[in-house]
């Protein structure tokens, strides 16, 4: 575990040395990037958690849009996925449609969303929600469809009510695949946020990177990339942590049958 931080530090040092020697404006040394990030986003007052107004005005809104989009995707994809997955008839009709929706490159539709939702937060949230609902939906359907038939029979034999079947059987059994879809959606949400903000936005991390690109501000551009990497890592770790906590039983049960 500690190995990964050691390796990261080693890579940073090598990069620093190379950049100092090469003096290329395209590849500033890590020290310059970190300094730029600090100055731009993290040199604010302690009362604001050291966030500058630029951070509050850009980083937080971006995160908020991602959160909003993912929340919509989960709220729609989860229940809908279970409903569709439990009905073999319905899922049969919807399978090709869902597969097609999954492979639709959401990025191609960014202007359509602009037209429909107009410039602003709601467009970005809708865009992210639309793109991230597919992995969650498809995976939840798969999970709900593959509930162990013996577990289902047990529920029938002990005459569990429909509500009990849902909360005590279907939902827990579907969770592992749901989380697989959620992880995909989380990394996808970051991508969609950047795309939406590169196209038409007046605030946000992507917007800042865009203007940095247009004004040849390489350190800020790199800072944005690094920030996105950190955010992606943190978000992924958060989902993994949540999954780890919620699905303890899943790992234990798999180990027993193996």
């Amino acid at each position: 575990m500690a190995a990964r931080w050691v390796v990261l530090a080693a890579v940073m040092l090598v990069w620093q040395a190379w950049a100092n020697w090469r003096q290329s404006s395209f590849f500033p040394p890590p020290s310059a990037i970190v300094a730029q990030m600090h100055q731009l986003w993290f040199s604010g007052p302690a009362s604001h958690l050291w966030l500058t107004s630029s951070a509050i005005g850009n980083v937080l809104p971006s995160l908020g849009r991602i959160g909003g989009g993912l929340a919509v995707a989960v709220a729609v994809g989860g229940p809908l996925g279970i409903a569709i997955g439990r009905s073999s008839a319905v899922s049969g009709y919807l399978d090709p449609l869902l597969n097609f929706g999954r492979s639709l490159p959401t990025v191609a539709l960014v202007t359509v969303f602009l037209v429909v939702f107009k410039l602003g937060d709601q467009m970005e949230v809708a865009f992210i929600a639309f793109g991230t609902v597919w992995p969650i939906l498809v995976n939840t359907i798969d999970g709900a469809r593959s509930v162990d038939p013996l577990q289902a029979e047990t529920a029938r034999v002990f005459r569990l009510s429909a509500g009990q079947r849902l909360t005590r059987l279907v939902v827990p059994a579907t969770l592992p695949k749901f989380f697989a879809g959620l992880r995909l959606s989380v990394s996808l949400s970051l991508v969609l946020m950047v795309i939406a903000e590169l196209t038409g936005s007046t605030s946000g991390i992507g917007y800042q990177m865009n203007s940095a690109s247009q004004s040849f501000n390489l350190p800020v551009l790199w800072g944005g990339i690094v920030l996105l990497g950190i955010l992606g890592y943190a978000m992924n770790a958060a989902v993994l942590g949540l999954e780890h906590y919620v699905l303890t039983w899943h790992r234990g049960a798999r180990r027993f049958t193996n």
Binding site: D148, Q151, T154, V157, F158, R168, P172, W249, G252, A253
Partner: protein
């Protein structure tokens, strides 16, 4: 208590029909333990699933405690399956698993927990309430399944090869456990097994089925003294005789005479041979 008349079931339709059981009839009085024994694939599980209401039979009638069963699960019924690791829910603790079916009859949560704990105690698992099923051994998991089955005070308990997935030592313990529970609670039990010793040892009656399609070959009364003991009972000549007879019936041979007389050549039963030939 339980009456099954001319139960017939065929899977599939048209040219792909497979007749699983044919005209199966059996009875069980209140408090009786009836064992159904037969080779693999003879339709024992199909019979059980029809009685449990999980399967709607093609023909025939089933009555449980006076009410007819036809494709819906009757009241007062409980089932113990063979595969405990897949029948118990891994996301629920042991106690929550046992308490799962109690909600229908008992709305109070505290009372449900008490009932579940009591059921666990009666199978010898007082201290496992908060653990998860997959943390327990196979034998203990099956005890949990049994506890779950008796927690709701069923009148009829169906057991589908419940001890097929545990080792021999555990199997003996579990057989005695079931016998004890039956004695204490006066439940009617239908025990499906492919173990011939078990079928005679644990039951009051043994129904022998043959396969391809499943039919009742014989219905034998087991007149062994109670309480049963794994060592003492199995030494008794009556046990040995019954066990041998059941064994021969399962292997599709005629029931043998008590002794083979010298000088009389053994003649294989032609009818048995033709039955075997037509079977699967």
């Amino acid at each position: 208590m339980l009456e099954v008349t001319n139960l017939t079931h065929a899977y599939g339709r048209g040219s792909g029909t497979h007749l699983a059981i044919d005209q199966v009839s059996l009875k069980a009085a209140k408090g009786e333990l009836v064992a159904i024994v037969g080779p693999s694939g003879c339709g024992k599980s199909t019979v059980l699933r029809c009685i449990a209401g999980l399967l709607q039979p093609t023909r025939g009638t089933i009555t449980v405690n006076g009410t007819a069963v036809h494709g819906t699960v009757p009241d007062g019924l409980a089932v113990v399956f063979q595969d405990y690791s897949r029948s118990l829910y891994p996301w629920l603790s042991v106690r929550d698993n046992v308490a799962l079916p109690l909600r229908r009859k008992e709305p109070r949560r505290a009372q449900r927990k008490r009932n579940a704990q009591r059921a666990l105690a009666s199978v010898g698992l007082n201290d496992t309430a908060h653990r998860y099923p997959w943390q327990l051994s196979g034998g203990m998991q099956q005890r949990v399944a049994i506890a779950r089955a008796i927690a709701c005070d069923p009148v009829l308990l169906l057991m589908d090869e419940p001890f097929g997935s545990v080792d021999a030592q555990t199997r003996e313990d579990l057989e005695d456990l079931v016998l004890g529970l039956r004695r204490d609670r006066d439940i009617t039990i239908l025990l499906i097994t492919h173990d011939i010793d078990e079928s005679v040892y644990a039951s009051d009656r043994v129904v022998v089925m043959t396969g391809g399609p499943g039919r009742v070959r014989a219905d034998l009364a087991v007149r062994l003294p109670d309480p049963r003991d794994q060592i003492v009972t199995k030494e008794l000549p009556e046990f040995v005789h019954l066990r041998t007879e059941v064994g021969r019936l399962v292997r599709d041979q005629q029931a043998a005479a008590p002794m083979a007389l010298p000088g009389r050549p053994f003649k294989a039963d032609s009818r048995a041979r033709s039955e075997r030939g037509s079977g699967g």
